[in-house]
Amino acid sequence: MTLQTYLYFPGCRIQRFLPQYGTSTRTVMAALGIALDTTELNCCGYPVRHENFHAGMVAGARNLAIAAAKGLPLMTPCKCCYGSLKHTDFWMRRDGRLRRHVNTLLAAEGLYWTEDIVIHHLLTVLDEVVGADRVKSRIVHPLNQLPVAAHYGCHALRPGNVTRFDNPLSPTIFERWVALTGAKAVDWSLRLECCGHPLWRKNNRISLSLMNTKLADARQAGARLVTTACTYCQLQFDTVQADHPPQRGPAVPAVLYTQLLGTAMGLPDEVLGLKKNRIEWRPERL
C-alpha cells in the first residue's frame, strides 16, 4: 500500500559518489510504502550560493516549480539540498520583487514557482508520514543496543526559522529514529556541530579539524559508529576520513541512516551497499 508519493530529489552527488545512498533510500522507502517519482531535476543551488544568491535562487526555484507542475511534494535524502531548497522557498515567499524576478526567468521554460510546494527531508517523511509504529513492525534484526552517534547536519537544522526541521537548539528526531532500529543513540556534546565538509577543498585544514574533533567526541561518548542522513556529511565522514585517517585513535565508521534502518529491517546488502562504504562496518548479527 502506498502512503504517499514524493518527487525524489537525489541531488548531484549521489549518482556518482554515493550510489549506496540512492539505492538504500529507494529500497527502504519502498518497503515502508513511500513511492518515489523521478524526473530530471537540476542542482539545488547550494554550491553556487557562496558566489551568487540569485543563481542559487533560480536553481532552487526551478526544482520547486517542476514539483509544482507535477503536483507532488518533494523529498530529498540530502540535508544540504533540503536546506537550500527551504532557503529558496523562504525567500520566494517573503520577497515579492524577488519572486517576480525569478518567475520571469522560469517562465521561459513554462515553469512557475508557487507557494504550496511541500519540501521534505527523508527523516521528516519517516517521522511525519510513515510514523514510528509502522516501522516498528518491520524491524526484524534489531541492532541490539549498538551505540550509535547520530549526526544532525547543519543545513537541515539551521536556521530553524527557514528549515523548520526540528527544534534547532535541542532536536530529537534523529535519536528517536536511531532508537527505533534497536540501536542506542549515545549522548554526545558535539552532535549538532558541523561535519566540516562545506570547507573541504576550500580550507582542508579547518575541514579536517572539525571532522576529527567531532569524531573524537563520538568515540569518547562510546559510539561504535556515526550515522548520517546527508550526502555531504557522509562523504566527509566516510570518503574524506578514509583518505585522511585520524592521527589519534581508530577511524569511526560512518553509516547512512537508510543503511542502518535497512539492516534492522533485514533488507539485502546489495541494495544497502554497506560494502561500498570506504570505512568498513559489518552488523554483528548478519
Binding site: N52, M57, R97, P168, K202
Partner: protein, 580 residues
Amino acid sequence: MLMTYTPYVALLFCVAGIFWRVWRWCSTMIGPEAIDSSPWHRLGVMVRAVGAAVFSRKLWAICRTLIVDVLAQWPIARQSKVRWLMHVGLFYGVLLLVLLHALDDLILADWMTDYASTLNPYMALRNVLGFLMAVALVAAWAGRRRNPVRKRFTSASDRWLLAVLAVILISGIILEASQIISAPVFDEMVADYWGSEEAQEIQPLKAFWSRRFAVVFEAPVDGSAESLAAGEELHIAYCADCHSAPRSAFMAYPLARAARPVAPLLNRMRVDLALWYLHFIAACLALALLPFGKFFHLVSVPVSLMVRAGGDAIDTLPENRSTRRAMGVDACTHCGLCSQHCSVAPIMTAIENSSILPSEKMGMVHRMARQKLSPADLRRLSQGSEICTNCGRCTDVCPSGIDLHDLWLASEADLHASGYRPPHGWIRTRSMAQWADQIKEDHAAGAEVEERLPGPKFTENPDTFWACVQCTTCTTVCPVVAASDNPKADLDMTPQQVMNLMRLELKEAAMGCRMVWDCVTCYKCQEHCPQGVPVADVLYELRNEACRRLNPDTDQGTHTRAKRGSGNPQENGTERFHDD
C-alpha cells in the same frame, strides 16, 4: 586534367589532416599525469596498448562496439529515437552515396558488368538516398533551431557541416535535372556512341528522347507516330542499354519538367557543366575538410569509442590519460545533449557565462590545452569549472561516449596548477587590507557597486545590525573560531568583529576577511544570536558581493607548461586532482 587530380589532392589533404589530428591527440596535455612525456613516446605507448588490446580477449568488446555503437549508433538511439533516425539517415545516406555514386567507377563498375549510372536501379537508388539525406539535413537543422540551448550555441562549425552537405546534395539534384534537359549532352552522346553526322537520321531519336526522356531541343522536333516509332528503334539499338527512363529519378525529374520553359537558355549556357563543376568541387572540398572542424567526428567518434572498448588496460596508463582526453574532445560533435541535461545549466540565467555548459566548456578546455585562451577566458572557464557539481549526467548521456566527468576533473586540475582557482582560492592571494585598498581604487574609478537585482540585501540595510550589542555569542559558538589556536592570525577577525565592521558601515573592509571565507555555513551564530542578527546570511552576502566586485587578477598568473606541477598540492585545500 584539373578534374583528374583534384580528388587526389583532396585525398592527400584528408590523409595529412588525419595524421595531424592524431599527432595533436598525442601532443595535447589535459590533466596532471605524465606531463613530461614527449608526443612520440605517447604515440608509442598508445599504439602498443591498443595493439595489445586488439590481440586479446578485448577484441570481442571492440568488435561489439563497432557493430552496436558505431554502425548501429545505439548510443544515439538510447537518448532520442528521433535524433537516431536523423543521424542514421544522414550517415547512411552520405556513406552509400559516396560508395555507390561518388566512387561508382571504382566499386560498382567493377562488380556489375552492365553498370551505368543512368540505369535503374542505380538512378532510382541515388534519388532515394538523396531524399533520405535531404530529410535528415532538414531534421538536423530543425533540431538545432527548436531547442533554445542548442539554437543559442550553434557554432560556425555546426553550420558549415550542414551547409557543405546541403550544397553537395542540392547541386547534385539540380545537376541531374540539368543533364536530363540538356540538348548539348544529347548531341555529345550521339557523337560518342552512334557517330552519325546525318541530322536527318538523328531526328527520330531526338523526337523519342524529347517525348520520353524530357530532353529540350531548341528546334522543334517531329512528334508524329512514325517518327516516334523510328526513334524508339534507334533508342533500343543505341541507347537503351545504358538509359532507363528519367521518371525514376524522382527528385530530379520533376525539376527537369519544371525547367522546360527556360531550358533552351540553360542549355545554351551549359548550366549542366557549371553544376557539374560545383558538385564535384564541393564533394572534393568535403573530403579535404574531413579532418578539420566537425567533419572529423566521422573518424574521431569511432576511434574514441573503440579505444574505450579496449578497456582499462589502455585508459589507466598515465601516458595515455591526456591522449584519451584529447581524443574525447575531438569526438565531441557539439550536439548539445550534455548541456540539455546539465544539472547547473539553469544557473546560466543568473550568471552569464557559457563555460557553465558542458558543450561549450569542452571547446574552452581544448583551447586551454593548446594554450590559446586569454586570461579573461581562463577566468571564465575557471568559473564554469567551479560551478559544475560533477553530477556526471553529461558523461551518462554523451552519444560519442566521451568521459566528460574525467575531462572536467583534469581541466580543473590544470586550471588550479595555472593559478586559476575558485573564489575561495583566489581571495587568499591578497590580505584583507589589500582587498580593501583595491575596492577603494575601483570605487574612485567609478566601478559599479550596487546590486540591482532584488533580494534580502542585509548588508545594505543598517537595521540589520542595529540590535547587535557585541555580546560575542556568535564568536563563542563558532566552530571555526574554536578550531583555531590563534583566530587573529588564522581568521583576521571573529564573527562578532565582522559584525562590528558592518555596524560601522565598513563593509568594504570586511569582504576580504578570512573569517568571511572560512565560514563553514553551519548557521550556529545566527541561530544563537540573542538579538536576531542574521550573522551567517551576512557572511554569505559578503562573499557574494566580493565575487561581484573583486577581481581575481591572475594576469600575473603562471599559465605555462613549465610551471605546471610545481604547486603544493595540499596548500589551502586546493588539491590538484581530487575526486571527493
